[in-house]
Structures are given as structure tokens and as C-alpha cells.
Symmetry: C2
Subunit: 469 residues, 2 copies
């Protein structure tokens, strides 16, 4: 029979078990951070009705959508009625509108699920990846305090992830628009074009952006460009500097006034929420191209790894679900692209394989004593210790080698002598040490050993556990 080559589609990240454990620990840590701030979990189906999912997206997003058809529907022909979600925000809008009367507002939700995008195949681009989102949705209104709290949430989450120094950087879209109006760009669409150019500063550089701004479509004067570049070149060193810069801005129009007032509240509260100032900056270069955002916008960078780019972004939006409900639902949210983050951290050497979830292998030294081994395994499992029981007989050395290769830290060994004496041999596979313990004390003893093992720092490349390969 001819064989099919076993492979996944390009653009997915499939992990070996110990890497999967490391990835799940990252997700668990993010989840714990979200819950610490009072966010509640939801999950939505990966498949949505196409006409519900694609009400408001334009051509650009639509080209990346994966459509879904059952065999029956495919045979009938016609347009696909189903599609895979491409983010968690549109499903959130649909969810909140659908369940509006059963939810408590402000509705704080977190959601950690896979999303799907028909990206062109490219290293580091994923077609299926986890997003970890938190959003707060208000009814009719939502205080800028929620925007400030999200800075604290990001701080908490990335502290716990232990990925080295990082900084949460915010800016304010309305303030930017007000400033553009002040500089003579009053038209909203023209403002959007300018903001998109500003977004390209990092990638394209000052000269390119200056040319684009001065060019035909936008046609901004040299003085205005200078003032704009002066503004977007600012990144605050601390809260006082940020506040001073805010006070020095012109407040010549309503947008500037509201932007300044809201951003002032966010910046002031960052301190009250216990975020150390070095982890926070007002960064005027952040524009975030999406028109969707209307107030605060967020980016987060690992300061020692700027090449990674923003690892957590988001912003404030005026109205979440205007396609689905007449209720006005303003919100603010942030998103971590967890698959990409994990992949980047691994590429940068900041994360390695995880520790095996198995703590103990009960070996089979003497096949005749199998009932005793099964009993020992049941004893350990009953005490909450994750235990693998060696079910097939074979040389003890081979069994220990398997445990070591699989990253199982402890092996329990019992022969006829141990059985007669009521003792057990415990082999510490990390330290390559072995000790004897009374059978009655095995659980207590292993609990201490496992705790010590788990407390040992796991190097960035997981070198404390044997590599799985």
C-alpha cells in the first residue's frame, strides 16, 4: 500500500509533548493573570455563520478568511455559509449582542482560543494561532479608568511570564487626531492616512514617511511635518515627564481636550494601580492603523528584544457591536498572540522545553513483583503524584534510560530484598543519586523531593530536564 506523507499544513505550530507543556504553562500563567483582575472566561465556536462574521470587515481582512463547507454543501455548490473566526473581537461582539440581557456590565471577559487566517506562508507567520484577549465592555459608557487598569493587567501577566524587562506603551488616538486637526489636517480620512504613515516609522524610517506625508495624496507642509515628527518622537521616561508633556500640548479643539483629559487619567492611575514607572511609557509614535480604535492604544515591547515587536496590543473602541445591536457598547481590550509569542521567545532563547508532567516512574525490576508495583503506583497516584507504571518487563537499565530520556525526574525501584525489608529505592535521575526509604514514608519523601525539583530553576533552554529528542 502506498503511504501518505504525514504532515501538517504550512503555518501551524505543532509541538512535542515537553514543548507543549511549556506552552500550556505560558497559557496558564496568562489565564491566572487575567483572572487575578476579575476577568471571566468565555469560549465561542471556531466556526461562525459567514454573514454574521463578515458584516463589517473590508476586502483586506476578507481575503484572509477561511471559509467552511460540509461535504453536502460543497456538492450543492453555492457560496459557503460558514467561516472560521479570524480574531476574537468579532465573535465577542456577536456574543455580547446575542447574550446581552444575561450578562453583567461592565462585562469583563477573557478568551484564549485559536483563530485562523489565510496568511501567505512565511517563517513566523501563523495560519492557526492562539489569541489571549481581555476586554471590558460597558453599556452606554465606560470610564478611562478601565483603560488604565489594562496597563496593570499587562504588567501582571508579563511579570509572571518571566521574559525579562518589558514596557507597556500607550498613546491616544483621539489626541493624535486632535493634534492633526491642530496642524491643519481636519478631514478624518486624511487623518487616517497620516496615522497609517506614522505607524510605518519603525519599519520604513523617517525619510520614507516624510516623503509620503509631503506627497500628492496627503500633501502636508514641511512645518506641519516637523511639528508632527517632533510630537511622535516623544516617549516619556517617567510619569511626571508624561504629565508635563500633556500639560504643554495645545488644547485648541475638542478632540485634543478630550484626548488630553482621558490620557491624563490613564497615566495618573498607572501609579495608583501599582505599576512601576519603568514598565510604562507614553509613546507618541504608536498610532495603530486600525480605524477601529478611538481612544487609548497599547503596545508592549520586550526592551531587550525590540526585534520581536509588540507582544501585546489593543485599544479603546467606541462601539463594539453596532452591526448586531442598537445598544451602545463601548469597550477597551488587549490581545496577546500567544503562539507567535511562544515561537519568538523560543527563537530568542528565552523559553525552552517544559518539565514532564510525570513525576515518578515505578519500575519493574522483577516481573514477578508486578502486583506490588501496581500497588505502589496506586499509592502514589492516590497521594496526587503523577506516576507512570512500567507495564512491560525489560532490563532495569533500559527502564531508567527511558525515564531519563522522557524527563521523568524520579524512579522507584523495588526488588525482593526491598520488599522483604519494607523499603523502596528512589533514584533521582537528575542528580544520578539513589536513596532508600521506608515504604510507609515513600509518599512524604517523594513530595519533598518533587517540590525541590520543581523549585529548581529551569534554564531558558530547559537544560535542567533532559532534552526530548
Amino acid at each position: 500500500m502506498s503511504l501518505t506523507k504525514p504532515r501538517t499544513m504550512p503555518g501551524v505550530l505543532e509541538l512535542l509533548p515537553l514543548d507543549q507543556i511549556a506552552f500550556m504553562e505560558m497559557l496558564d500563567s496568562i489565564r491566572a493573570g487575567f483572572e487575578r483582575y476579575g476577568f471571566l472566561p468565555i469560549e465561542t465556536p471556531a466556526i461562525e455563520l459567514s454573514h454574521v462574521l463578515l458584516t463589517k470587515t473590508g476586502g483586506e481582512t476578507e481575503r484572509q478568511v477561511y471559509f467552511v463547507q460540509s461535504t453536502g454543501s460543497l456538492n450543492k455548490g453555492g457560496d459557503p455559509e460558514l467561516a472560521l473566526r479570524f480574531d476574537l473581537t468579532v465573535p465577542l461582539a456577536r456574543y455580547v449582542a446575542e447574550h446581552e440581557h444575561q450578562l453583567n456590565f461592565p462585562f469583563r471577559r477573557y478568551q484564549m482560543q485559536r483563530v485562523y487566517r489565510g496568511e501567505s506562508a512565511q517563517r513566523g507567520r501563523f495560519r492557526e494561532f492562539y489569541q489571549c484577549d481581555v476586554d471590558v465592555i460597558g453599556k452606554d459608557s465606560l470610564s478611562p479608568r478601565f483603560d488604565a487598569e489594562l496597563v496593570a493587567v499587562i504588567y501582571q501577566v508579563f511579570q509572571a511570564l518571566k521574559v525579562g524587562p518589558f514596557q507597556v506603551r500607550v498613546n491616544h488616538r483621539m489626541l493624535m487626531r486632535g493634534l492633526l486637526e491642530h496642524l491643519g489636517v481636519a478631514d478624518a480620512e486624511m487623518q487616517t492616512l497620516v496615522l497609517r504613515e506614522v505607524d510605518k516609522l519603525d519599519k520604513r524610517g523617517v525619510d520614507h514617511v516624510r516623503q509620503s506625508l509631503a506627497g500628492g495624496e496627503i500633501g502636508l507642509g514641511a512645518a506641519a511635518i516637523d511639528q508632527l515628527f517632533d510630537f511622535v518622537g516623544f516617549r516619556s521616561a517617567n510619569v511626571d515627564e508624561a504629565l508635563a508633556k500633556l500639560e504643554a500640548l495645545p488644547d485648541s479643539n475638542a478632540a485634543l481636550q478630550q484626548g488630553i483629559s482621558e490620557l491624563r487619567e490613564v497615566i495618573t492611575l498607572v501609579r495608583a494601580f501599582g505599576v512601576p514607572e519603568s514598565f510604562f511609557a507614553w509613546d507618541c509614535a504608536i498610532a495603530r492603523g486600525l480605524d477601529y480604535y478611538t481612544g487609548t492604544v497599547y503596545e508592549t515591547v520586550l526592551t531587550e528584544h525590540p526585534e520581536i515587536g509588540s507582544v501585546c496590543s489593543g485599544g479603546r473602541y467606541e462601539n463594539l457591536a453596532s452591526n448586531y445591536t442598537k445598544s451602545k457598547l463601548p469597550g477597551v481590550g488587549i490581545s496577546i498572540g500567544a503562539t507567535r509569542l511562544y515561537w519568538q521567545l523560543r527563537e530568542a532563547g528565552l523559553i525552552g522545553s517544559g518539565r514532564s508532567s510525570v513525576a515518578v516512574l515505578v519500575t519493574q525490576m522483577d516481573p514477578a513483583l508486578f502486583a506490588e508495583y501496581a500497588e505502589l503506583a496506586a499509592l502514589l497516584r492516590g497521594a496526587g503524584i503523577n506516576t507512570e507504571l512500567q507495564l512491560e518487563s525489560g532490563k532495569l537499565g533500559k527502564q531508567l534510560k527511558y525515564a531519563d530520556k522522557a524527563g521523568i525526574p524520579f524512579a522507584v525501584i523495588v526488588g525482593p530484598d526491598e520488599l522483604a525489608k519494607g523499603v523502596v529505592q528512589v533514584k533521582d535521575l537528575q542528580r544520578q543519586e539513589q536513596f532508600e526509604v521506608a515504604r510507609d514514608e515513600l509518599v512524604a519523601s517523594l513530595r519533598v523531593e518533587i517540590e525541590q525539583f520543581r523549585a529548581m530553576p529551569l534554564g531558558p533552554l530547559g537544560e535542567s530536564a533532559s532534552e526530548q529528542s
Copy 2:
């Protein structure tokens, strides 16, 4: 602007947050049970390459497959090259074949992910649902001891789920085939037809199945049918009875001999693995229609809710990945359809909403004291207590009502008097009691209260928490 009705496709289960928490607790409990027995996690992409996914499935399964196309591919026309997985077994086969040289065998894996099937819309049938699978894959061979261990895994998992009395029922496909051979049905395809009929006993009843067996295609004689019915009518009351029945069987052919020997090992070990006998039975009526299974087959029933049917099924297979690799990879596995199980338990009144993941609401009695409230929230969060901070001002009564409605058990209240005295009021929203505690002792005091609250039994319908609606 015209509104789009916000709705999901039919056949999905989307939950409100407190129900989502209950569902996630169920998944976490299942995960813990799998890990207790030394199984390692993997996840595979939901989207697979069609030609890889559909190598061996027949027409019946294929009709239920969801195919996936990006916009670009859709516009080009042609057959879809991608499809959503319909189970976790085919992806496991692909995974093991693809990563064969990086895995340790026997490979014990668990996987808890959503799968997709184009089921016809019907109450209780899901098109997107979680499966929770454990499988052990051997290289070349795999001892029947692994089959026995899975009984212990199922026992552990369902004990922890607290769903009332249940029973793991096993049978052996090869033994069944051997018996059919003994009864004169030697042809393998004919045997399959007979086993499929036996599978219908529950739903169609004895008379219908007897007619089918005697009818044209199969044409089994009355005496053979009597013998078969006598056999499939047996369900062991305890291990000794099961072993006695095994010994009394004819061993007139190789299939019978091997089947008896393997099933004897499984039944004998159930005791050694610490499974109480009342939770286990040899049930000769279990045939499991799939040709895929070649040895032990499993079903699990909630004995007080037989109407639910099997909540955990699986079996032994000869060769996992013959479509992808020349390696012989025998395996044995079980699967829990978690979405359906959750839905059924809820319908049966055995499971209700979960408790909010938020333990404390720090209220805002006096807007002027907001900085103090933010500090209190930071204090609690720093101590690992999931805390929501009231960010918008409003009447205290309304804030407390919100907490109660949202199922948050404790509220912290501080006014100018409390601030001056260095104390805090804690309101227990369940008991409708309030007590004062020194600010320094708030964390310690709340830890005790929260622990007590979590230890309180949550009724099947979650009545200890206020219902979320």
C-alpha cells in the same frame, strides 16, 4: 443601518461565563486524571491537509467532514485542500508518524481539543465539540496491561467528576470474532455484519436483531442465534464471575484463545490497579461497530442514568498509522465527548453553573478614596486573590447588588471612618453578613473565608451561588 441578527450556527454549545467556568472545571478535572496516570499532552491543528486527513475514511465519515478554503483558493475553484479534523485519532496517527523518531514509546498521550462534524441539526448533536482522548501507542507490540490500565484511568476520571455511580464495561472484539467462528460464521465481513447487529440490541431490541441475523444477508441458524444471544446477554457481577465465565468458554480456535487470554489479563489486573469491582464489568453485549477495534473495547455508563448512553468509549487497535508509516504501531485508547457529556449532565440536573472565578469586589463607597481602593485591590491581587475593583462610582447598594448577581462572594467596603481607624468592612454576600477586620489582617482573613466558601458544596444546580441570568 440594518442590523445582523447575532447568532451561532446550529449544533454548537456556547456558554455564559459561570457555565463556562463549570465546563472548564470539568475539563481540568479530566486533565488531572489523565496526568495522574502519566499521560503527556499534545495539541494538533484543527485544520489538516485533506489528502492526509482522509486517507482511510470511508464515505460515511467523509459526508460529515467540513472542508476549508481560503478566499483565494475559493476564487480559483477546484477541490478544497484543507479540512477540519473530525476526531483526534487520525490526527494522532499523523502526529505519531510525523514525529516518530522524537517520541518515546510506549507513547502515552492525552489530547483535549475540539473536533468538527457536519452532523444533521438535532437536539444534543453537536457539530463542534470537545473530545478528551488518551491513547498509548506501542512500537511493534503493546501488552494487554495497557488495556487494563485504561480501566483505572476511566475510574479515576469519573470518580473525580462526581457524577454519581458509574461502571466501566469492557468486552473483547477478537473473542467475539472467535466465538462467531465457533458458531459457524468464519467470514470476517460476515462477522462484522453480525457485530453491527449486536450493537443495535439496546436501541432496536432482541426481536429486530434476531430477524436481521436470521435474514437473507447473514442467514444465521436459530441454534447459533440462541447461543449468541445467550453469550451477549452476559454482564459480570464481579471479577470472579467474569473469570469463571471466561474459563467456561470454548477455545476451539486461535481467535478465541487469544481473546480469552488477553481479556483474562485485563480482568485480573483491574483488581491490582485498585478499581473497586462494582465499577467494572465484562459486558458481552458491547461490540462497537467500528472495524477499527481489534481487541479490548470499552464503554462507560452512569448507572443511574442509562438513558445517557456511553460517556467514555474506546478500544484496542492493531496498527495506528499504517497509512503514514511502515512502522507497526499498535495502540489502545479511550475518548470522552466532553461537550456532549457536559450538556447531558446539565440536562440530567447533575451539574450546574460554576462559582465565579472572582473572589472579591473592592467597592467604591466614597469616590474621593479611589486611590485607597486601588491600593487595597493591588494588595489582594498581590496575595493571589482574584479581585475586581469597582472603577465607576455609583450607589454602594447597586455595587453590592452587582457583586451578588455576578456571583462574587465577598465585597470589601471602606469609608472615611474605616480609613481613619485602619479597618475594613467585609461583606459576605452569601450569608448576608458583614464583619470588620483590621486592614493588616484583611488578606489572612479573606483567605480563610474564601477557603470556607470554596469548600461549601455547590449544589447540582449551582444554587449556592446566585444564578447568573
